[in-house]
């Protein structure tokens, strides 16, 4: 009797000594496996080890890895978090929404230039971006501005020509960047940065825009000094993000600047402030904009480019769509 009890206790001691991941399986016994057949299937799948008996070998590409169902349970918390309120321009619909009218660059000054430069073009070629290209752009812009003042009659033609050149240059750079970064970067985009992004933004706070002229105290004098009448409109910025999303490009080009806004990095902090990343040329930078105060990294913008960058980040974060 004594020996039997000792054997039983040793057996139980062995059970106790087993790793914790085994013990529950033993404790639950066959009932758990019977209740959920998928558990057994999952364990079998883990034990398979792919092709070959040795396990750990390189698996062949089947071509079907991405062929699973296009939907999931939706239980994994997206990187932007859960929203508690859905905003929508209308009710639920499976119909493709009407394409927003593409605004044209008329009567809004240089800020109204179309940001939509993400469309693939057969005429674009892949070249390396060089500092001289940027310098050329700057000098071209200066030239354009002078011509605008001196020769108003020719301004329109010159502007169009220069714009075409600029678009060509930037398109080349963009293709470079897309090529070098590859699609993996796009795949790490937050879930809200997709078609319908305006209503998919998980934060339900914030405000931005809706003005004819920005309400920041510094705007008037600076705008005069910069020779601009207005910032890029919300419609243009929204259209640029739409196009970037549709073409799986991770950034939008900010007009009048060397900045490119990585719109998927936008992360609001409260109702007025947004953190985001941008490229200044080839340098990736992290910035913080206070949309209500009109400050970038705690200071008022020093250039129209900085003002445009802040404007775009605030619009994508808090603006209406």
């Amino acid at each position: 009797m004594n020996r039997t009890a000792q054997r039983v206790s040793l057996l139980l001691t062995g059970v106790l000594a087993l790793p914790s991941w085994i013990t529950p399986a033993l404790a639950l016994g066959g009932s758990a496996a019977g209740a959920n057949p998928s558990h057994g299937a999952a364990l079998l799948a883990r034990g398979g080890g792919g092709i070959g008996s040795g396990g750990g070998g390189r698996r062949g590409n089947s071509g079907f890895q991405s062929s699973g169902p296009g939907l999931s349970s939706g239980s994994n918390r997206p990187s932007g978090g859960w929203s508690s309120q859905s905003r929508s321009s209308s009710g639920p619909s499976l119909e493709r929404p009407r394409a927003a009218a593409q605004p044209r660059g008329s009567g809004l000054g240089s800020g109204s230039r179309d940001l939509n430069r993400n469309q693939p073009s057969g005429s674009r070629q892949t070249v390396n971006r060089q500092t001289s290209v940027r310098s050329d752009n700057l000098s071209q812009r200066s030239d354009v501005r002078m011509e605008r003042i001196d020769q108003r009659g020719d301004v329109r033609t010159t502007r169009i020509e220069n714009r075409t050149d600029r678009v060509e240059d930037r398109s080349r750079v963009r293709r470079d960047r897309v090529d070098s970064r590859g699609r993996n970067y796009w795949d790490s985009h937050p879930g809200w940065a997709r078609p319908g992004w305006g209503y998919a933004r998980p934060w339900n706070t914030g405000w931005y825009g809706g003005w004819s002229s920005p309400s920041w105290g510094w705007w008037g004098p600076r705008a005069t000094a910069w020779g601009v009448a207005s910032l890029t409109t919300a419609a243009v910025i929204n259209a640029a993000v739409n196009d970037a999303v549709n073409n799986q490009v991770t950034y939008i080009v900010i007009p009048n600047s060397n900045f490119e806004l990585m719109y998927g990095t936008i992360a609001p902090a409260g109702t007025d402030v947004v953190n985001f990343e941008a490229f200044m040329g080839e340098t990736r930078i992290t910035m913080r904009a206070d949309c209500r105060r009109g400050t970038l990294n705690g200071s008022t913008p020093n250039t129209i480019g900085e003002a445009e960058l802040m404007n775009a980040a605030c619009q994508v974060a808090f603006g209406s769509v």
């Binding site: 139980l12 059970v15 349970s73 939706g74 859960w82 859905s86 009710g91 639920p92 078609p195 209503y199």
Partner: protein
């Protein structure tokens, strides 16, 4: 002898504690509560509240539309979708589901129940980046057992009509 008894008691305690601990982890976890809009049978949009809950069986979406409640449960691996039948107290497999990313809409059983739920689509977008990138419309259809037997995207879904 006394040591053996102690070990037996310890083993008994483990046997008791483990299942109860597991039971605790299986308690439903509310993922989010969403105020949004829904439509029933292709009707006009109505305000509704969606409560998403995680259980051992899958994610449950409880839609409260006025005085009506529609509950859908979705599980992964394999993806299955079922609708709670309050009359029979059973989960009934859905025949289809469709999502349009650009309108943040998911519909179940054709247009029987549609809801604007960006949370769901944001999660799907991050769950399946390869499958969802560049897609707008996604449809899945289920066989009688509730298992997916067809998935289509965008223009590919026109082939199903």
């Amino acid at each position: 002898m006394s040591i053996s008894i102690l070990l037996m008691l310890a083993a008994f305690a483990v046997g008791v504690v483990l299942p109860s601990a597991q039971a605790r982890t299986e308690a439903p976890e509310v993922l989010y509560t969403l105020q949004t809009s829904c439509s029933l049978a292709g009707g006009e949009p109505e305000p509704c509240v969606v409560e998403a809950t995680q259980t051992a069986e899958g994610t449950t979406y409880r839609h409260v539309i006025g005085g009506r409640v529609e509950t859908v449960r979705i599980s992964d691996a394999p993806v299955r979708m079922t609708l709670w039948d309050a009359g029979t107290k059973t989960w009934t497999p859905l025949s289809s589901a469709a999502a349009r990313f650009s309108t943040n809409t998911i519909c179940f059983n054709g247009r029987d129940l549609c809801v604007v739920n960006a949370n769901y689509l944001n999660s799907v977008r991050e769950d399946r980046p390869d499958a969802s990138a560049g897609r707008d419309l996604v449809q899945v259809r289920f066989d009688d057992s509730g298992r997916v037997h067809l998935t289509c995207y965008d223009d590919g879904c026109k082939e199903l009509r």
